[in-house]
């Protein structure tokens, strides 16, 4: 199964021998932790999802945010009592709703404030944490019920922030946060729910600012955008904004493949929404090719850049006709584009002789030209391809098995 918590990543191996003092300290920590755990468990076994149980989950989750069952207990507490009405499809009857959101604010404010100095607005939590009772929110919904839900939702979002900052790769926190956000859609007026979701973009950007490749944060951002575009939030397309976002991420770090990837996914939609005609699409392609070539000129050893270049070239070759964003080019034009790219890559060889990605690009794109034209490589291409393969074997012996396979395939096409 894929990665999950509990595994050790990047922690230096130590002697693993504890002093007696350390051992006793551990035992004390264990005692406290288990005591807390026992309290929650005994309450759960009696189906006690009261505000007290809820507060205990806050404590326990701060010790251990990976404890997924406790996140579930927390959800049950909210559904069975704290939220104003049972959510659709929930079998929980409406319990005591005396549980006021300020309780959660109290329980979470301690650890929230410790991290708030690093928080940047817009922050979903900053608007209610610290306030008790009435919120002076201009968009505040009219009824007491929805106001209570709004406060609770904001408070829960605030609760997870310090935990996320501490454990940015913890699946369960992200999952809980998304569940809370879905509650906003189910329980709040659309305009209010939309504002909460909009603020989430700020959080995703903040997490990506701390770790530009955080897989969870990119996925989270994509999910938030999808929701903001959906009819449940009366949304409309955010493709232009998303594209601009990749632009800014790439500007600050050319080798951020996550940003290039995101860009590759947005382009087809972007051009459709711009109702781009053939000329506009070509102009767009030209600009992207110039941009990535320029980047490759600076960092020809960077795989991320070549992957994006491949994406553009593949859209010309038309491996996947549905995905291509330049459907109107003639075969001759496509071949022309490819040959131009090949020449540009050849120019790189003047400055860089020992970068295998250059030879790989030349090899691959030359094969594409032949495929497009439906022919075998001619004699001069054969010579080039063989020379590039020889270079690849020399520069990259790790992948010799692959070069040997390509050599075999090449011999087969030569007949």
């Amino acid at each position: 199964m894929a990665d999950q918590g509990g595994s050790q990543h990047g922690i230096a191996r130590s002697s693993r021998v504890r002093t007696e003092e350390q051992r006793l300290r551990d035992l004390e920590k264990i005692r406290k932790y288990r005591e807390l755990e026992d309290q929650v468990r005994s309450r759960v076994s009696q189906r006690d999802y009261s505000p007290e149980t809820f507060q205990l989950t806050s404590k326990l989750l701060r010790f251990n945010p990976e404890y997924y069952t406790i996140w579930n207990v927390r959800r049950r507490c909210l559904i069975s009592g704290s939220f104003s009405k049972p959510s659709a499809g929930s079998s929980c009857s409406k319990g005591s709703s005396s549980f006021s959101p300020s309780d959660t604010t109290t329980t979470s404010s301690g650890s929230y404030s410790s991290s708030s100095s690093t928080a940047t607005p817009p922050n979903p939590a900053s608007q209610t944490v610290g306030k008790s009772g009435i919120t002076a929110d201009p968009d505040a919904p009219a009824t007491d019920d929805t106001k209570q839900d709004l406060d609770l939702i904001r408070s829960e979002l605030g609760f997870t922030i310090p935990l996320l900052l501490q454990s940015p790769k913890c699946y369960w926190i992200w999952s809980y946060r998304l569940w809370i956000l879905r509650q906003a859609i189910e329980r709040l007026p659309v305009a209010t729910a939309r504002r909460i979701w909009e603020e989430e973009l700020g959080l995703a950007s903040k997490m990506l600012g701390r770790d530009r490749r955080n897989f969870h944060a990119w996925g989270y951002r994509r999910h938030v955008v999808e929701q903001l575009e959906s009819s449940s939030l009366q949304g409309s397309s955010l493709v232009e904004a998303g594209f601009e976002y990749t632009e800014s991420m790439i500007k600050s770090d050319l080798s951020n493949f996550s940003a290039w990837h995101s860009r590759s996914k947005l382009i087809p939609r972007l051009l459709d929404e711009r109702a781009a005609d053939g000329t506009a699409r070509r102009a767009f392609l030209d600009k992207e090719l110039d941009k990535i070539r320029e980047a490759i000129n600076v960092g020809p050893e960077d795989q991320s850049l070549w992957y994006y270049h491949q994406f553009l070239v593949l859209s010309l070759v038309g491996h996947d006709r549905d995905q291509t964003f330049i459907p109107e080019l003639s075969l001759q034009d496509r071949v022309g584009y490819l040959k131009h790219e090949i020449e540009e890559i050849k120019d790189l060889l003047e400055d860089y002789q020992d970068i295998k990605l250059i030879y790989e690009g030349l090899f691959e794109y030359t094969i594409y030209v032949c495929q497009l034209e439906g022919r075998r490589p001619n004699a001069s291409e054969q010579a080039d391809l063989a020379a590039w393969l020889a270079k690849l074997k020399e520069l990259d012996p790790m992948r010799n098995g692959r070069w040997t396979d390509l050599e075999r395939d090449l011999a087969a096409t030569a007949g």
């Binding site: 199964m1 894929a2 990665d3 999950q4 918590g5 509990g6 595994s7 050790q8 990543h9 990047g10 922690i11 230096a12 191996r13 130590s14 051992r23 551990d26 035992l27 920590k29 264990i30 932790y33 468990r41 010790f63 251990n64 990976e66 404890y67 997924y68 069952t69 996140w71 579930n72 959800r75 992200w174 999952s175 998304l178 569940w179 490749r213 897989f215 990119w218 996925g219 994509r222 080798s255 493949f257 996550s258 990837h261 995101s262 590759s264 996914k265 795989q303 991320s304 491949q310 994406f311 593949l314 491996h319 996947d320 012996p397 790790m398 992948r399 010799n400 098995g401 692959r402 396979d405």
Partner: protein, 328 residues
């Protein structure tokens, strides 16, 4: 190859008995805080440890009866399993439970003392989103190709794959494919070695490898090997023993294992072991854990390191178990 590794310096020999002792010690560390903080992974941990022991040729190193008792004590009325007694049922621990029971040949006990195969199958099948074909991890959780793979893994071992809409699930995986031949966690997501493993393995179980662009994917996967011999999970990331397994097993599934340098990968994994106290870490010199121990050993097994039992690249379990359960 056997002769070649006999000649390696001592630190590059597999510390088999240390690894066995390390895994046996895992459940005795109750005076360590981490033992309690990781209880939500107990059943998964048992699967990792038991698989490691089977691959090391010491399947008896954990007592069979206690193993079965513990697994069954984690089962809920719904048929699903939690990570430990008192923990909610979840796809991940349910899959681990099925894998453990398969390894110790205890499906009969599941029937007689547990809630039975059919109930487990029902629990898993209920987590499928019938509109999109993908799976959630539990009644609350998000959807992820990890859970889809887990469902296929466990259901196929139980002989209950027909309980779910396989075609819909396959369509969903196809929608997660990227131009580089890889797969992401959901449609639109970047290719990632862990997700590639789950998607390609699920397609393999479904008999739909025809959907995989093997040339392109093989290229991407082979480029994960970096200086030092280890493999990373995405471009420009650090190498790691667990990612090495996902990349390697995916390469094996599409018949391209020879596209990387096997000897260098073997040497990298062996450099990550703690030869005295046992266990394998993500990178040389880091803390060991059972997660990296099993994936390190599985990698070595796939690379035919001498003395290890052969591992199945799709299930990450001994080939002998898969042969017995699936009647291959």
């Amino acid at each position: 190859m056997a002769a070649k590794f006999k000649q390696l310096p001592e630190e590059l020999q597999l510390a088999t008995s240390a690894h066995v002792k390390y895994i046996q010690s895992l459940d005795t560390r109750k005076d360590e805080y981490d033992y309690w903080l990781t209880e939500h992974l107990r059943l998964n941990g048992l699967y990792w440890g038991l698989t490691a022991l089977h691959l090391l040729g010491h399947p008896e190193a954990l007592p069979r009866t206690e193993t079965i008792d513990f697994v069954l004590s984690c089962q809920h009325e719904s048929g699903g399993f939690g990570a430990a007694p008192g923990h909610d049922a979840h796809m991940l621990s349910t899959v681990s439970a099925v894998q453990i029971l398969a390894m110790v040949d205890a499906f009969d006990e599941l029937e007689s003392r547990g809630k039975g195969k059919a109930q487990v199958g029902k629990y898993i099948a209920n987590l499928q989103n019938r509109q999109t074909g993908t799976f959630a991890g539990d009644e609350w959780g998000e959807e992820d190709t990890r859970f889809l793979y887990g469902a296929f893994n466990a259901l196929s071992l139980l002989g209950l794959l027909h309980l779910v809409d396989v075609d819909k699930a396959v369509d969903h995986i196809a929608a997660c494919a990227n131009f580089d031949g890889g797969y992401g966690v959901s449609p639109g997501a970047e290719s990632h070695a862990g997700q590639i493993f789950t998607c390609v393995a699920a397609l393999t179980i479904a008999g739909r490898q025809d959907l995989v662009d093997k040339e392109r994917l093989g290229r991407w996967l082979s480029e994960r090997q970096i200086a030092g011999g280890g493999l990373n999970g995405r471009p420009e990331k650090k190498e790691d023993v667990c990612y090495s397994w996902w990349v390697l097993s995916s390469l094996e599934m599409i018949g391209k294992t020879h596209w990387i340098d096997k000897d260098q990968l073997i040497a990298f994994i062996l450099r990550c072991q703690d030869p005295e106290r046992g266990g394998i870490s993500d990178r040389p010199g880091d803390m060991v854990d059972v997660w990296h121990t099993v994936f390190g050993l599985a990698g070595l097994s796939l690379l035919q390191y001498p003395g290890l039992q052969p591992v199945d690249e799709v299930y990450c379990m001994p080939k002998s178990t898969i042969a017995r359960v699936l009647g291959r």
